[in-house]
Symmetry: C2
Subunit: 156 residues, 2 copies
């Protein structure tokens, strides 16, 4: 049986494993630690929230999201990750996780969910477009990190 | 003289005007109202924060940002808008606004600033890459809104 529930602090070790697997799939490095996740997600001032999916009591996947804001449209939810363990695919786990996040978005009077998907992730793109997502064309995502961030803060 | 300060509730009418001009430049619709901005930015639970730039006491531009979170890298600032009124360009206003946001990012132990820029916005891309930004290649941004959001929340 499939159930969806908010993650609790005791889920952090499993969540970190899932995140590592998500990052391996996306071929991206992970610098976050389990302690970061515990502090930032389950401390006094949560920076994100997580739903986990359980199939017959076994963790099958997660959705990690946080508040976002569009100056043109208002409140939104940013869906950072939606991951289902390969052995649990085909059981509508992803759809159930997305439903939980979408319910939060509607409860919080958000105009919608925003997310990024890698262009080569055909399965991901297919899942979200089947769920009614619109691909925004023409945007580039930029980051300012490390030395560039420190230079920018000094106004250089 | 150029100065940067956090926006206050009394700036909302000017902020809304700036947002409308930013949206006109980006050729995107605006559904947000001044009341939304007042409630969401200057109420009990702010969803975003704004710096405004003043040149000799006249508002010259704004930067609107909010917290973000990467499950791989941790805390971040999402820079939603950075806008300088055309008549104030060439005075390093944008750089000063970016410095203020970058200072918040370093104070809050963020790994960086994340932002989206329209691909045809050569001036914007040039400004941010000169400021040390990296363009992330290969990502698509998706949104789930309106009827799709309601269907998704029902698990359809």
């Amino acid at each position: 049986m499939l159930s969806i529930r908010p993650a609790i602090a005791a889920d952090v070790p499993s969540l970190k494993e899932f995140i590592d697997r998500m990052a391996a799939f996306e071929r991206l490095p992970v610098t976050i630690t389990a302690d970061d996740l515990l502090l930032d997600g389950f401390g006094d001032r949560p920076q994100f929230a997580v739903f986990v999916a359980e199939c017959d009591g076994v963790l099958a996947g997660y959705a990690l999201y946080h508040a976002s804001y569009s100056s043109f449209q208002g409140r939104a939810i940013f869906l950072e990750d939606l991951f289902v363990s390969p052995s649990f695919r085909g059981r509508r786990v992803a759809r159930a996780l997305l439903a939980a996040v979408a319910a939060v978005a509607t409860q919080q009077a958000c105009f919608g969910i925003v997310l990024n998907v890698l262009g080569w992730n055909d399965r991901g793109l297919e899942f979200f477009t089947k769920a009614g997502a619109t691909v925004l064309e023409g945007w580039k995502t930029l980051t300012i990190t490390g030395d560039a961030l420190h230079s920018a803060s000094a106004g250089r």
